[in-house]
Symmetry: C2
Subunit: 243 residues, 2 copies
């Protein structure tokens, strides 16, 4: 199933005791419709506050409902900040996370003096003018197979050496009116990686870091060299690719 | 000042005792910044749940702050669902409501089988497919100076005969992907008028009413003939025009 959600009022995708999570809400709805206790798998374990328009989940069920009927039944009981967009029966062995070839995230920045009001939940407000073309040039340094330890969550980088190699297929930045959008496509992402990459590209956009600085940060494998982890509200999991 | 707000958590524009209103929040912020008890005037008294990207307010103040400085000070204390977009000193005698020549509203319908999730606060979800071109043709019947009693709030139509004449300068409907947008520009609007007009055009979009039906409803001056008052969430005051 393809799932869309507004991450604002979720403590992330993954189930956590005592927290409202996307996985928890979906599993509750599945139990209500099928009577089964179903454990779902998500392609991306999005953090607290991160949105999705193209999250993919997989699960096994003995339900007699066809996929479309199950989709409609689930949407009727799900809260308004999550909805199933498509549903289909998968090949045997399909696993939303392990079968995925690539994930696409988009980070949206509202780059204007005044605060955004309508749709403010889905953007980061950044007052200083951003040179999106410079950000796009610097981004190309990160395309390809690299050790992204400098852009990983701090614990990830230190505790799991060599587990930080990823392949970035595409990393583009462009301006659309007051919006600056960063599109990132990789085989997989380290925790906080998109937010750390965009935090670093913001420095380039303000001309406080150069293309060479980004190359140096990447080579350092040192999380302290990169920009800040920016807030989750501008981030959205937009697509997951399978063979 | 031009003001933007997300109407979701406001009981409308106009001050009401014990309710959170846009006017109330703006007047509180003005008192906090200027020390004065200022009464503001809004160009359009939007209903509970209606949004604005181009509301205009006017007021008198003895503040020594320049308009831009006052704007920034207000934005620093206003809640995140309202912001001042522009500020300027007005001509003597300027009145946001009485000086306005025209108002523009937009109503946005999310016309798809599945519920909208991101940005759901700003659209009405309508499952049945809408023929936007048919809606646009029927809308042209309402352009010009007419007695809009059939589209007024019920009390308005019965209690104030002949006060229901308005001039509709422009009324267009078009589709943009899953969105159907209705743009309405008039000298002024009766209470609930845009929502009643769009409710009637929805019948045309579903081929349950014709262009002739819309002409007949307008001529009837009878509120019971028109479509339902649709919810406020899709409605936004987008612009106010002055000489």
């Amino acid at each position: 199933m393809t799932v869309q959600y507004d991450g604002t009022n979720f403590a992330g995708f993954q189930v956590q005791t005592g927290q409202r999570t996307v996985q928890g809400v979906l599993e509750t709805a599945l139990r209500r419709i099928t009577g089964e206790s179903i454990r779902i798998v998500g392609a991306g374990r999005t953090d607290r506050g991160v949105h999705a328009t193209g999250q993919v989940i997989s699960f096994q069920s003995g339900t007699s409902l066809a996929p479309r009927a199950l989709q409609h039944a689930l949407n009727a009981v799900l809260p308004e900040d999550v909805a199933i967009i498509t549903a289909a029966e998968a090949e045997p062995g399909f696993h939303a996370r392990f079968s995925a070839r690539a994930r696409e995230y988009r980070y949206t920045i509202w780059n204007a003096a005044e605060r955004p009001v309508l749709g403010r939940q889905y953007v980061l407000h950044w007052r200083a003018y951003l040179d999106a073309a410079a950000m796009d040039r610097a981004a190309q340094v990160l395309v390809g197979e690299h050790d992204f330890a400098a852009f990983a969550g701090a614990s990830e980088a230190s505790e799991r050496p060599r587990r930080t190699i990823r392949t970035m297929y595409r990393l583009r930045c462009w301006r659309d009116g007051h919006r600056v959008i960063v599109q990132a496509v990789a085989d997989a992402f380290l925790p906080h990686m998109v937010r750390n990459v965009v935090g670093t590209l913001l420095l380039v956009g303000m001309h406080r870091a150069s293309v060479e600085d980004v190359a140096r940060i990447l080579a350092s494998r040192d999380r302290r060299q990169a920009g800040a982890t920016i807030p989750p509200r501008g981030l959205c999991l937009t697509r997951v690719e399978y063979d």
